[in-house]
């Protein structure tokens, strides 16, 4: 029993160490890829970012709508329904924008990255590249990692903007909050530090979601089952990491 626990802990430490080394290799190789192989990164920004746009926007709209409804109903109890804009903005910019975008990103782009890389490994494409004297880390992995990391902050921004639009539609157009009050209260309450917090979260979550996806794909057992498992693990681990990191960053920002 104790030996089992010991082995599990050791296994975790070993994997986590390897993961950190992997992350370091990605970072070390990033300048080369950014300067010499930039078209590859652009293609991955398209794959991870542009192709996630639709679900990000649709979800952002509805999350904003829910914030408008909930905010209005609950704030109205205190005659503070004019603050619904502030309520929605704080929720979106500091929490829901980065977190929900990261979770959607893991589901849409992360799984695609992990399964794509896993399949390339299973069908010997990565080994073939190595035999053609091309480093798959630079050719395949780093561009995907960068594409995901660069896309995320933009997706978060778009999510928040569309969310605000949703909250505005519900709060102002439907429930009759005064549009001037909606925006004016927001301008007084929101500080630049709040936006920084959102930006920091979006950058961190982008890095984390991307590195977990490429790590899982790169280390997938090269079989159909292994690739499937890597895809599932990508979503689960990213979700856990994002929520834990969200708590840590929020606590530090207080």
């Amino acid at each position: 029993m104790i030996r089992d626990i010991y082995q599990t802990v050791m296994e975790f430490v070993r994997t986590f160490g390897a993961f950190q080394l992997f992350f370091l290799r990605l970072v070390i190789n990033s300048p080369y890829v950014l300067t010499r192989r930039f078209p590859l990164v652009v293609q991955q920004i398209f794959n991870a970012g542009a192709l996630s746009l639709v679900i990000i926007m649709v979800c952002g709209l509805f999350v904003g709508g829910v914030l408008g409804l909930q905010g209005y109903n609950n704030l109205a109890k205190f005659n503070a329904e004019d603050s619904v804009g502030t309520f929605a903005a704080f929720s979106l910019i500091k929490e829901l924008g980065p977190v929900i975008t990261a979770l959607l990103f893991a589901g849409r782009a992360g799984t695609a990255l992990a399964s794509e890389i896993g399949l390339m490994k299973a069908t010997d494409q990565l080994a073939a590249m190595e035999m053609m004297a091309t480093d798959p880390l630079r050719r395949v992995i780093v561009p995907r990692f960068l594409g995901g990391s660069i896309s995320m902050p933009f997706l978060v921004a778009i999510f928040s903007v569309v969310g605000m639009f949703g909250a505005h539609v519900i709060g102002v157009s439907l429930l009759g909050v005064d549009s001037g009050a909606f925006w004016q209260q927001l301008r007084t309450a929101l500080e630049i530090g709040d936006i920084y917090e959102g930006i920091i979260k979006s950058v961190v979550f982008g890095l984390v979601a991307s590195v977990i996806a490429v790590w899982e794909g790169y280390n997938a057992i090269p079989t159909a089952e292994g690739v499937g498992r890597a895809t599932t693990r990508t979503v689960v681990i990213t979700a856990m990491a994002v929520l834990i990191l969200d708590f840590i960053i929020t606590a530090l920002a207080m």
Binding site: M120, Q125, A127, A128, E130, M131, M132, A133, T134, R139
Partner: protein
């Protein structure tokens, strides 16, 4: 290079194990220059592992592999990649890059390693595709190809950088007789026309016999027999005869090692 002996690859006292399972226990092989050399053996004898060792995708636990006199264990990453340009490798399933068309797959090494103008790349790629008879498939995607065609495209890609050593990993597996004949012909043609050394890993005795100059039969981590196809098929060794003639039982037992049959059926487990 430094050593232009008759052997392009020399393997000495090679040891390798996967977990507790020993794969090679003191393997010695000389692969002659300019010939087609076949490495044969029952499934699980480590034929593909040997190819991975020769190309240093994995490292041996003991022993040396010299290619043109150079010990490949001593190469650093950059030297290794430069070294690998002298190899062409055909993977079991072709390993074509699924995102790219046939043309771009063959052009891939050229685009990665040279700054040739597009016109010249087009010229080279079409020439290589023509050599494997698939110039007409240049614009197709890998998913549209049959198994045999995919392997021929992979062969075109393997020779696009004019390698000195061409390695085939199980090139005949899962092909219909016509595709098989095509690949057999191509192996011979590439070897003779390009003056390269070919290494062929396979357990298809018939095909190998028609194409190879020399064969090594692996068993139990060592070379069990070697020689020309004729020498091997006329050997007195039980194991070689079992393998060459495809007999179900012999030195390689039909039964995987198991506890005593009667005891297992009648023993406590059965109650």
């Amino acid at each position: 290079m430094s050593d232009r002996s008759d052997n392009v690859i020399e393997i000495r006292d090679l040891w390798y194990s996967r977990g507790p399972l020993p794969i090679f226990t003191g393997l010695n092989i000389d692969i002659p220059r300019g010939k087609v050399t076949a490495i044969m053996g029952p499934s699980g004898t480590g034929k593909t592992t040997l190819l991975r060792l020769i190309t240093r995708q994995i490292r041996p636990h003991k022993g040396t592999i010299r290619i043109d006199g150079i010990d490949i264990a001593e190469l650093n990453q950059r030297e290794l990649y430069r070294f690998r340009r002298r190899f062409g490798m055909l993977f079991q399933n072709g390993a074509l890059l699924t995102d790219y068309s046939v043309f771009e797959n063959v052009a891939f090494p050229l685009r990665e390693h040279t700054k040739l103008p597009n016109r010249l790349i087009r010229h080279i790629v079409l020439t290589k595709l023509h050599a494997v008879g698939l110039r007409g498939a240049a614009d197709m995607m890998p998913t549209q190809l049959s198994g045999g065609m995919a392997r021929r495209v992979a062969l075109a890609r393997a020779i696009v950088m004019d390698p000195e050593i061409l390695i085939y990993d199980e090139p005949f597996v899962g092909l219909d007789p016509i595709s098989m004949g095509v690949i057999v012909r191509l192996v011979r043609k590439m070897n003779d026309a390009l003056g390269i050394s070919s290494i062929l890993v396979s357990h298809d005795v018939q095909e190998v016999s028609t194409v190879s100059d020399q064969s090594f039969l692996l068993s139990n981590g060592k070379v069990a027999a070697s020689g020309s196809p004729d020498e091997l098929s006329n050997t007195s060794s039980e194991l070689v005869r079992q393998f060459m003639h495809g007999m179900a039982d012999g030195p390689v037992a039909f039964h995987f090692s198991a506890p005593n049959y009667a005891e297992q059926l009648l023993g406590r487990d059965a109650e």
